[in-house]
């Protein structure tokens, strides 16, 4: 199997997965006994009004036709109109998603950097102080709920110490930079507004760390385990028998091999980041897609919920596709 075939196969699988997600999202939203029409019009609406709105929203058609319309729309990037904001859902997503993406990207950068460093150090200094620290840090990371760590850190760094801002993407009196990507860090850098950049960075630091904490812990543990495993391999003994220095053996010979499982876990936790964004965004008043979906859920805004969820699933699959490609770049045995 060459790389092209491999890629085609992965793309095909991705389509199947997304179709599956679309099915689940659609049927859950339509089968649960909640009535968006009733929610919009209120309990005392006359039957004609209800019927008129049902027809307008397409709820009078059989389920299977509605499913067909949903899929056909999704293929065109059209998820219908949000019942709450009255905007096309896709437009709302484009509006809110960059904030989530920016948060997730900064979070994954922090957790990759921190996680791999901790993992490598604790494998190399096994059972020493740094290993114990990393173990406790990781256990806290996987066992404490995101919102609780978020509140705790807000309490310390915002209320007590006052080092970092308490929420939002920018200070109250700062204008967002001219929109190019919708990510403030990139946009402000592009516009050369370094004050805004610095402010955006300070604002994103805490939520990104909180969001990425869990991922950091997973990455650190996997990196440690795989590094320990690699250090036991025959080729490490060969490298040592060549008289290579310890650091060369670790960073040139072992690290790249040990990154293979780490890359897999990075793809998986990235999904967790998008999902965790729902809570983190709420705690840190971060106007992202997670908050959009949560709000949509409270208002029975089904087009928004379905569209937002499917969009996140799409980004998640895309992230995993990228991981698989990275895999092949890292391990020549996958490139056959």
């Amino acid at each position: 199997m060459n790389f092209g075939q491999f890629l085609l196969r992965r793309l095909f699988l991705m389509i199947i997965v997304l179709f599956g997600v679309a099915c689940i999202v659609f049927f859950i939203a339509n089968i649960i006994p909640a009535d968006p029409v009733g929610a919009i019009l209120g309990g005392n609406a006359p039957p004609e009004a209800i019927n008129r709105l049902k027809a307008k929203l397409g709820y009078d058609q059989p389920l299977i036709i509605r499913f067909g319309n949903f899929i056909a729309g999704a293929l065109r990037g059209d998820f219908g109109v949000s019942l709450k904001t009255s905007n096309p859902v896709m437009k709302d997503i484009m509006n809110y998603f960059p904030a989530t993406m920016e948060l997730a990207i900064v979070a994954i950068i922090i957790s990759i950097f921190l996680g791999i460093t901790l993992g490598v150090l604790s494998a190399v200094h096994r059972n020493k102080a740094i290993d114990q620290f990393s173990r406790i840090f990781s256990i806290l990371g996987v066992s404490m709920p995101v919102f609780w760590i978020g509140l705790l850190l807000l309490l310390v760094f915002y209320f007590k110490l006052g080092w970092l801002p308490g929420g939002g993407r920018l200070g109250f009196f700062t204008y967002p930079p001219p929109r190019v990507t919708g990510m403030y860090l990139i946009d402000s850098a592009l516009a050369g507004q370094w004050d805004t950049f610095k402010e955006a960075l300070l604002h994103i630091l805490l939520p990104a760390f909180v969001l990425g904490y869990n991922a950091t812990a997973s990455i650190a543990r996997i990196t440690r385990a795989s590094m320990l495993d690699v250090l036991k391999q025959d080729f490490i003994r060969t490298a040592k028998s060549k008289g290579l220095k310890r650091n060369v053996v670790i960073y040139r010979h072992a690290l790249r091999n040990s990154m293979i499982p780490t890359i897999t876990i990075i793809g998986l936790v990235f999904g967790g980041l998008l999902e965790g964004a729902v809570l983190t965004e709420t705690v840190f008043s971060w106007p992202g897609l997670g908050r959009y979906i949560t709000t949509g859920m409270l208002f029975l805004d089904y087009p928004a919920v379905m569209g937002g969820t499917l969009y996140i699933a799409f980004i998640y699959s895309l992230a995993n596709l990228i991981v698989d490609i990275l895999y092949a770049l890292l391990d020549p045995r996958m490139r056959m």
């Binding site: 060969t238 028998s241 008289g243 290579l244 010979h253």
Partner: protein, 330 residues
């Protein structure tokens, strides 16, 4: 102290492994010596400490193992006393090693040419890229096509080719000693012969000594000048290959030879009765005594030292006199 070997002299080498089951005394006073350009076969059953000996000489024993006592004099240097930094100037430059599993001994994510170049680059203190002409020469020398192999990854090579690469890597720095730890055991029989031939040819050409670790008496007969027989972490007999095969003195060596099939041999193959002892709790006295057909009372209490009973023929057995007798001090 008089050195028995001009190139390498190992004496009283003790290595233990600290495991949950207890302390495994893997090597308990190993003796070993070699002259320059000589080929020494180190033989014995699985678990007798052959590989541990070679790793200890390279100082590559890993946790939970530990070298506890002994001397390793190599090329005038006392290796066990060198700093790690100085030891790294011996490893891969004056002394290198090839292993049993050639395919897993190469780094799967690095190109073959790079891995050989790394060894040369280190000994000559030059960038790896600059060593490539030399790497190509080395690949030709071990019978591989440089154009095909230079940029290959290990998984694209067969076991035999990988072992050729390992040999090329081991000899690329023109070391004085190449330690080959069961270099042919994982290969097909036809390939085994080719690899031995290659080792033979290159050692002749480059003049390096070879320590060949093996359990295969046939390989020893074909390749080695001298043989050291090991049993349960002890050196039990040392002689030239011809002498050892014709007149084995230690009952264990005798048993080993009786268990080797040969063309034209009509008598029954005899296994040595019993099994290799558990080294957490080794037998008292001579470690071979529970399995020895000619065991005496003294063997159960005292450890026989390795003494010269005839010129160039050393044996650790009380059948050949009590001289140099030592009390067991375990």
């Amino acid at each position: 102290m008089e050195l028995r070997g001009k190139l390498l002299d190992v004496s009283g080498l003790k290595v233990s492994f600290y495991t949950y089951r207890g302390v495994i005394k893997a090597l308990d006073g190993v003796e070993l010596w070699m002259d320059s350009g000589e080929r020494l076969g180190v033989v014995g059953e699985t678990g007798c400490g052959k590989s541990v000996t070679s790793l200890a000489v390279m100082r590559l024993i890993e946790q939970p193992g530990e070298i506890q006592a002994g001397k390793v004099i190599f090329n005038g240097k006392s290796l066990l006393e060198l700093s790690e930094e100085n030891m790294n100037r011996v490893r891969g430059i004056e002394m290198s090693m090839i292993f049993q599993e050639p395919r897993s001994s190469l780094n799967p994510v690095m190109k073959v040419g790079y891995q050989i170049g790394e060894a040369i680059a280190k000994s000559k203190k030059m960038p790896i890229k600059k060593t490539y002409p030399e790497v190509r020469e080395m690949l030709k020398l071990v019978g591989l096509d440089p154009d095909r192999v230079m940029n290959s990854y290990p998984h694209e090579l067969s076991g035999g080719m990988s072992q050729r690469v390992m040999i090329g890597m081991g000899l690329a720095t023109h070391p004085k000693l190449l330690i080959a730890d069961e270099p042919t055991s994982a290969l097909d029989v036809t390939i085994q012969a080719q690899i031995l031939e290659l080792l033979d040819e290159l050692a002749r050409k480059m003049g390096n000594a070879v320590m060949l670790i093996t359990h295969d008496m046939g390989v020893v007969a074909e390749f080695c000048d001298k043989v050291m027989v090991m049993y349960a972490g002890n050196s039990v007999e040392y002689a030239s290959t011809v002498e050892l095969f014709e007149r084995p003195l230690h009952p264990y060596t005798g048993g080993l030879l009786l268990a080797v099939p040969r063309v034209g041999r009509t008598d029954e193959l005899k296994a040595i009765k019993g099994t290799v002892p558990d080294l957490v709790d080794p037998p008292s006295g001579c470690r071979f005594h529970p399995r020895c057909p000619r065991v005496m009372e003294i063997c159960k209490e005292n450890r026989p030292p390795l003494v010269q009973v005839e010129p160039g023929h050393f044996v650790a057995c009380y059948l050949y006199g009590n001289e140099g007798e030592v009390k067991e001090n375990a």
